[in-house]
């Protein structure tokens, strides 16, 4: 415990799109960084003042679909 969320419970398209979004806008700053997808989603949800769940919920998807600037949100 806590039981790890099983990403495979999302469809593969969602999974791919969330990874692409996080890699682009919330990049892992060092290759050696290892963060679970859930942690990375939580970081994004905190930045956008969303409910922090670590899951790809509707409001998180809505933010991901909004037109935006291409500069990452983590200033590296």
């Amino acid at each position: 415990f806590p039981a790890q969320l099983k990403p495979h419970s999302w469809n593969s398209i969602d999974l791919e799109s969330v990874k692409t979004y996080l890699d682009k806008f919330f990049p892992l700053l060092r290759k050696t960084d290892s963060q679970s997808l859930e942690e990375r989603i939580k970081k994004m949800q905190r930045f956008f003042h969303l409910t922090v769940t670590g899951t790809l919920n509707a409001e998180t998807k809505e933010i991901m679909n909004q037109p935006r600037c291409g500069v990452p949100d983590i200033a590296d």
Binding site: K24, F25, F47, F48, H49, I63, Q66, P67, R68, C69, G70, V71, P72, D73, A75, D76
Partner: protein
């Protein structure tokens, strides 16, 4: 507000910009006006002054491009990423690129060039994204009437942290 790591900023208060090319979506004069007004958002609250140059070197180069455009950060077609810019520095530093696959507009049909340019020039001057909703440096695009646009206090604090206030 946030600045980039190491707080890169321009040492010179007199900055030059060059408009490299134009979008067919708007008359050139409208592009010139939107870009000039976008710079004024920042010069109105700091000692910075911007001068347009028509050839040769410029601190900030403004360009419209689509997909891969030789900076390693390809655009992605219509929607999603609208534009990007580089933090102050040599070469690409300060440059702002706008995705030509968007429909650029003077008002609310399509993407408002003034609003996106003002945001990107914030990056050109050293501001990173802010997570304050409603701030100009918030990462996602939302339309506001350019005629009633006001820079948020968060953005003002950020840019004045880098360049100081405009002298009275």
């Amino acid at each position: 507000y946030k600045t980039f790591p190491g707080n890169p900023r321009w040492r010179n208060k007199y900055l030059t910009y060059r408009i490299d090319n134009y979008t067919p979506d708007l008359p050139q004069a409208k592009v010139d006006e939107a870009i000039s007004k976008a710079f004024m958002v920042w010069s109105d609250v700091t000692p910075l002054q911007f001068k347009r140059v028509f050839r040769g070197d410029a601190d900030i180069v403004v360009a419209f491009a689509r997909r891969e455009h030789r900076d390693g950060y390809p655009f992605d077609g219509r929607g999603n990423t609208l534009a990007h810019a580089f933090a102050p520095g040599k070469g690409l530093g300060g440059d702002a690129h706008f995705d030509e696959d968007e429909t650029w507009s003077e008002y609310n049909h399509g993407v408002n060039l003034f609003l996106v340019a003002a945001h990107e020039f914030g990056h050109s001057l050293g501001l990173a994204h802010s997570n304050v909703p409603g701030a100009l440096m918030y990462p996602t695009y939302s339309y506001v009437n350019p005629k009633t646009f006001r820079l948020s206090e968060d953005d003002k604090r950020g840019i004045q942290k880098l360049y100081g206030r405009k002298s009275a």
